[in-house]
C-alpha cells in the first residue's frame, strides 16, 4: 500500500502544481506589486523547486502533519475530519439504498429471465444509469420539498443533534446517488448470476432436490457476487470522494465540495491533503474488497 500511496502522492502533487493558476495572485489580487507577490510566494515556500517542495511536504505528511490551508489557516486534517461524517454517512446510505434495490432486482431479473419483470427491470436500470443525477435531484426536490413539503431541500444536520432531521436531509441526496449505483449493480448482478446459474454445480443442486431459494442463496449467489463486490467497492470509493454534484445541489458540507473549492482557490496544501485522503480511501476499500473475495470464495487465499 505504501509504495502506491507514494506514487499517488507524486501524481497529486505534480498535477495540482502544474495546473495553471497561481494562489499568490488569487490571494493578493491584481494590484499587488511584484515584490509583494514574491514575498508571499517565498513565505508559502512556493518559490522553491517543485521536488524540494514535494520533499518538504512529504516529510511532514509522514509525521501525520498535512499542513494548513493557505486561505483560512485551518489545519488540513481538521478540514477533512470536519467533513468526513457527512461524506461517510452519505456514501453508506447511498450504498445501502443501492444494495437494497440492486440485489433483489438483479436476482429476480436473472431467475425470471425474459419475463415482464426482467424486461421492466432492464428498462428501469437503463433509465437509472443514463439519467444525470442532477436531474433526478431537481425532480426529487420538486416533488418532496416544493410540492409535498416533506423534506428540506438543502442542508445538513448532525445526527447527534437531531437524528430524524438528519435523515430527512440525507434521504434525497442518498437516493440521488444511490439510484445510479443501484442500476449499474442490478445489471451486473443479473448477468453474473445468469452465468453462474448455467453452471453444472447449480444443476447438481437442483438435482439433489434443493429448492430454488437454497440453490441461489447458498450456492449461486456466493460465486455471482464476486464481480458485484468488485464494482460495489469501486462505487463506494467513488461515493466517498466525488459526490460533488450531489453535495453542491443539496448544499452538503462534504469532502467533494472541499476538494473542488480548494482547487478553485489553488489552496495547494488542502488539495494535496484531500486528494491523498481520497487515494487512501480507494486503497482501503480495495483491501476490504480483496478480503471479501476470500470469504465468498474459499479458493482465493492470500498468503
Amino acid at each position: 500500500m505504501v509504495p502506491v500511496l507514494f506514487l499517488v502522492s507524486i501524481v497529486i502533487f505534480s498535477l495540482i502544481h502544474l495546473t495553471p493558476g497561481d494562489p499568490v495572485i488569487t490571494m493578493l489580487g491584481e494590484e499587488a506589486t511584484l515584490e509583494a507577490r514574491d514575498r508571499l510566494r517565498a513565505q508559502l515556500g512556493l518559490d522553491r523547486p517543485l521536488p524540494v517542495q514535494y520533499a518538504a511536504w512529504l516529510a511532514k505528511v509522514v509525521t501525520g502533519d498535512l499542513g494548513r490551508s493557505i486561505r483560512t489557516n485551518q489545519p488540513v486534517a481538521e478540514a477533512i475530519t470536519e467533513r468526513l461524517p457527512v461524506t461517510i454517512q452519505l456514501a453508506f446510505l447511498a450504498m445501502a439504498i443501492a444494495m437494497a434495490i440492486a440485489l433483489p432486482v438483479g436476482i429476480i431479473a436473472a431467475t425470471r429471465r425474459g419475463t415482464f419483470a426482467d424486461i421492466g427491470s432492464t428498462v428501469m436500470c437503463l433509465l437509472g444509469v443514463s439519467m444525470p443525477n442532477f436531474l433526478l435531484a431537481v425532480f426529487l426536490v420538486y416533488v418532496f420539498s416544493l410540492t409535498l413539503r416533506w423534506l428540506p431541500p438543502i442542508g445538513y444536520i448532525s445526527p447527534v443533534q437531531d437524528l430524524l432531521g438528519n435523515l430527512k436531509g440525507m434521504v434525497m441526496p442518498a437516493v440521488t446517488l444511490g439510484v445510479f449505483a443501484a442500476a449499474a449493480t442490478a445489471r451486473l448482478t443479473r448477468s453474473s448470476l445468469l452465468e453462474v446459474l448455467g453452471q453444472d454445480y447449480v444443476r447438481t443442486g437442483y438435482a439433489k432436490g434443493l429448492d430454488e431459494r437454497a440453490v441461489i442463496r447458498r450456492h449461486a449467489m456466493k460465486n455471482a457476487l464476486i464481480p458485484v463486490v468488485t464494482v460495489v467497492g469501486l462505487q463506494l470509493g467513488n461515493l466517498l470522494g466525488s459526490a460533488i454534484v450531489t453535495e453542491t445541489i443539496f448544499a452538503l458540507p462534504g469532502v467533494g465540495r472541499l476538494v473542488v473549492d480548494s482547487i478553485y482557490q489553488r489552496d495547494f496544501p488542502l488539495v494535496q491533503g484531500v486528494t491523498l485522503y481520497l487515494a487512501v480511501i480507494f486503497l482501503v476499500v480495495n483491501l476490504i474488497v480483496d478480503m471479501i473475495y476470500a470469504y465468498l470464495d474459499p479458493r482465493i487465499r492470500y498468503s
Binding site: P3, A79, V141, P152, G155, S242
Partner: protein, 562 residues
C-alpha cells in the same frame, strides 16, 4: 498484495477528479456572478461637514429602520419585535473573515454584520454616519472624523481614535493587505484625542469616503488580530452588530447578537433586533430559491434570472430589486492585433444588439448597459447610449475601414451557464458583421491569471461594481487602474479621471465622467452589454431590510414577525 489494478483505481480516481475540476466543469465555482479578486475602489460623494442632524438621544446616530423597497411598498408590519434567528443563503462560500485581506466580493456580506465601517453607505449611495458620527474637512487634504462614543470590540477592547490609526496602519503595512491601494491617498493618520482622528491626504480624494464604507473602512480589533495571526481569518473580532460564533465551511456560519453594540433605534431600543444570524452557502440558484420557498431559509441572495419575472409579480415571497452597480462587458486587450485597431473594436461595438441580449440571456430583468457608470449613480447619464441601435451596416463599414483581413479573435469566458450563453449570443451577433469570435471556456482562477499576464485577446466577464463612479471607471480605464487589463492608455482620459478624483463637487465630477465616457466609448477598450439588477428574495416574515444597491446584507435593522 498491491496490484496494478489498485494503483490504477487510486490514480484514476484522483486524477480524473483533478482534471474535472481543473476544467471547471462543475457548477460549484466559488465565484459569484460578480467577479471576485477585485481591489475595491468604491466611493461616494464628497465629504463635507456634519452629515448627521443632531438628535436628542446621544447613541441614536443610526437612521431609523427604513422600510425595504419591496413591491408591497412598505415592508413594515408594526413595531419592530426583537429576537429570533434569521437564516440567510448566499450564492457561494466566503473566503476569509479578515476584511483587510479579503479578495472576494462575497466576503463583504458577512463583514456588514461582524464589523462596522467608519462610514456607512446609504440607500442613495451617499455616505452616512457609521463608527464615525460626523466628519469635517478643514481643507481638501485633511478629513477629521468624530467617532461614536462607548463603542466596544467583541473582545471588550474599546474602539477609539487609536484603534482607527492602528487599523489604517495595519491595512497599509500588512504584507498580504489588499486594501493598501485603496488607502493610497492617505499619507498618515493622527490621533487628535480619544474620539477624534485626522486623516492626512496626498491631495483631494473624492472616492475616499465611499471606500471607507467598504472593507477599507472596516475596523478590526488589531489586538485580537495580532494575537490570532493568520487564524484571524477564522476568528474575527469587530465592533459590528453581531459577533462571530462558529464557521463550518460550506455548511453554515453562526453570528450572535452583540449585546453591547453601540447603536439604538429611534425609540431607544437596542440594535440589532435579531438574536442570531445563520448564513448558509447554497451554490445552486434554483435550490436557493427552493430553500426560501419552503421556509428552510428566510432570505436569499440573487435568485436565477429566469425566475425573477415570476417572483416580481408573485405574492408568496418578498422581492426586492435595486438597479445594481455591476456591469457585463467584453474587455479587449488593445495590444493584441487585430484588436489594437480602433476601427475594428468599433465594428465589434456596433455589432452587439444589447436589447436582444438583455431579453434573451437575462429575461429582461436587467438594464441594457452602455457604459461603466451604474444607473443608480449620481454621475449616470441616461441619454448616453453609444452604438445604439445596433447597426450591422455601420459595423461592416468600420470593419472595412479597419483593413483587418482576418477578422477573428478569441474570448475567454468563465465556465458558468450564464456566461457561456452570453458569449454564444455575442458570437452569433458578431457573425452578422463577418467577425469570428472563438469562445474559450476557462475556470475563474485561470482566467484571472491569464488576464493579469495579458495572455488573452478578449475577456467576456463582469464587474461587481462600486458605489462611487471612480470604482467603475478609473479602475478600468485609467492607465494606472487596477482592472485595466486592456492596457488602455489615453492621456486625455487619464487627465479627466484624475480631475474627477480630486474634486469634491458632484456636478463637476459628473461632467468630467461624461467627457471621459465619450472618449472611452470611442476607443472601445471595453464593449458594454448589461447592468445586472441587485435582487434579494425574502419570506414575508422579514421586516425592515434596507436594500442598498451594493447588495450587501445589512442586518442591524432587520427583524422577524413571529
Amino acid at each position: 498484495m498491491v496490484t496494478r489494478r489498485d494503483l490504477l483505481k487510486g490514480a484514476l480516481g484522483t486524477g480524473v477528479l483533478l482534471l474535472l475540476t481543473a476544467c471547471g466543469s462543475q457548477p460549484a465555482a466559488p465565484a459569484a456572478p460578480s467577479k471576485p479578486a477585485e481591489p475595491a475602489k468604491p466611493a461616494a460623494p464628497p465629504a463635507k461637514t456634519e452629515s448627521k442632524p443632531a438628535e436628542s438621544k446621544p447613541a441614536a446616530a443610526a437612521p431609523p429602520p427604513q422600510p425595504a423597497l419591496t413591491k408591497e411598498g412598505s415592508g413594515q408590519a408594526g413595531r419592530p419585535q426583537p429576537g429570533g434567528t434569521i437564516r440567510i443563503a448566499l450564492s457561494s462560500e466566503i473566503t476569509t473573515l479578515d476584511p483587510h485581506l479579503s479578495t472576494s466580493s462575497q466576503d463583504r456580506q458577512i463583514y456588514q454584520s461582524v464589523y462596522d465601517s467608519l462610514v456607512r453607505l446609504g440607500p442613495d449611495l451617499n455616505p452616512a454616519p457609521g463608527l464615525a458620527k460626523s466628519w469635517e474637512q478643514s481643507d481638501p487634504k485633511t478629513v477629521v472624523f468624530k467617532l461614536q462614543s462607548g463603542v466596544k470590540f467583541h473582545d471588550g477592547e474599546p474602539f477609539n481614535a487609536a484603534a482607527v490609526k492602528a487599523n489604517v496602519d495595519r491595512m497599509k503595512s500588512h504584507p498580504r493587505s489588499l486594501r493598501k491601494g485603496e488607502l493610497d491617498d492617505i499619507t498618515s493618520v493622527d490621533v487628535v484625542d480619544e474620539l477624534t482622528v485626522k486623516f492626512n491626504l496626498k491631495g483631494p480624494s473624492s472616492p475616499l469616503l465611499s471606500l471607507l464604507t467598504d472593507r477599507a473602512g472596516m475596523m478590526v480589533s488589531t489586538k485580537a488580530a495580532e494575537a490570532a495571526g493568520d487564524d484571524f481569518a477564522r476568528k474575527p473580532v469587530g465592533t459590528g452588530p453581531f459577533k462571530f460564533v462558529e464557521w463550518v465551511k460550506d455548511d453554515h456560519m453562526t453570528l450572535r447578537k452583540w449585546e453591547q453594540h453601540w447603536e439604538k433605534d429611534a425609540d431607544g431600543v437596542q440594535l440589532p433586533y435579531l438574536d442570531e444570524v445563520i448564513i448558509k452557502p447554497i451554490p445552486d440558484g434554483t435550490q436557493r430559491l427552493t430553500a426560501v420557498r419552503t421556509g428552510t431559509v428566510d432570505m436569499i441572495d440573487t435568485p436565477p434570472s429566469k425566475d425573477m419575472p415570476a417572483l416580481k409579480t408573485g405574492t408568496e415571497l418578498k422581492y426586492s430589486e435595486q438597479p445594481g452597480l455591476a456591469y457585463r462587458y467584453i474587455q479587449i486587450n488593445v495590444k493584441k492585433p487585430p484588436l489594437d485597431n480602433k476601427a475594428f473594436r468599433q465594428a465589434i461595438a456596433w455589432s452587439i444588439d444589447r436589447e436582444a441580449i438583455n431579453k434573451a440571456v437575462f429575461f429582461n430583468v436587467g438594464q441594457v448597459g452602455y457604459q461603466a457608470i451604474p444607473p443608480s449613480s449620481f454621475a449616470f447619464d441616461p441619454d448616453f447610449k453609444p452604438y445604439t441601435p445596433r447597426d450591422v451596416a455601420r459595423a461592416k463599414a468600420k470593419l472595412a475601414e479597419s483593413g483587418v483581413t482576418d477578422p477573428k479573435f478569441t474570448g475567454m469566458v468563465p465556465n458558468t451557464p450564464e456566461d457561456k450563453q452570453l458569449a454564444e449570443v455575442f458570437k452569433e451577433q458578431l457573425t452578422d458583421t463577418g467577425i469570428t469570435l472563438e469562445i474559450e471556456l476557462l475556470e475563474g482562477t485561470v482566467l484571472g491569471d491569464r488576464a493579469l499576464k495579458r495572455e488573452y485577446m478578449a475577456s467576456i466577464n463582469g464587474w461587481s461594481g462600486r458605489p462611487d463612479p471612480d470604482g467603475n471607471v478609473y479602475n478600468f480605464f485609467h492607465s494606472k487602474g487596477a482592472q485595466n487589463r486592456s492596457d488602455y492608455l489615453n492621456p486625455e482620459v487619464d487627465k479627466l479621471l484624475d480631475a474627477a478624483r480630486s474634486t469634491y463637487d458632484n456636478a463637476e465630477r459628473k461632467k468630467l465622467y461624461s467627457q471621459a465616457n465619450e472618449l472611452i466609448l470611442d476607443d472601445s477598450p471595453i464593449v458594454f452589454s448589461q447592468h445586472r439588477p441587485e435582487v434579494k428574495v425574502m419570506s414575508q416574515r422579514v421586516q425592515g431590510f434596507v436594500h442598498v444597491p451594493d447588495g450587501m446584507m445589512r442586518l442591524w435593522n432587520v427583524w422577524l414577525t413571529k
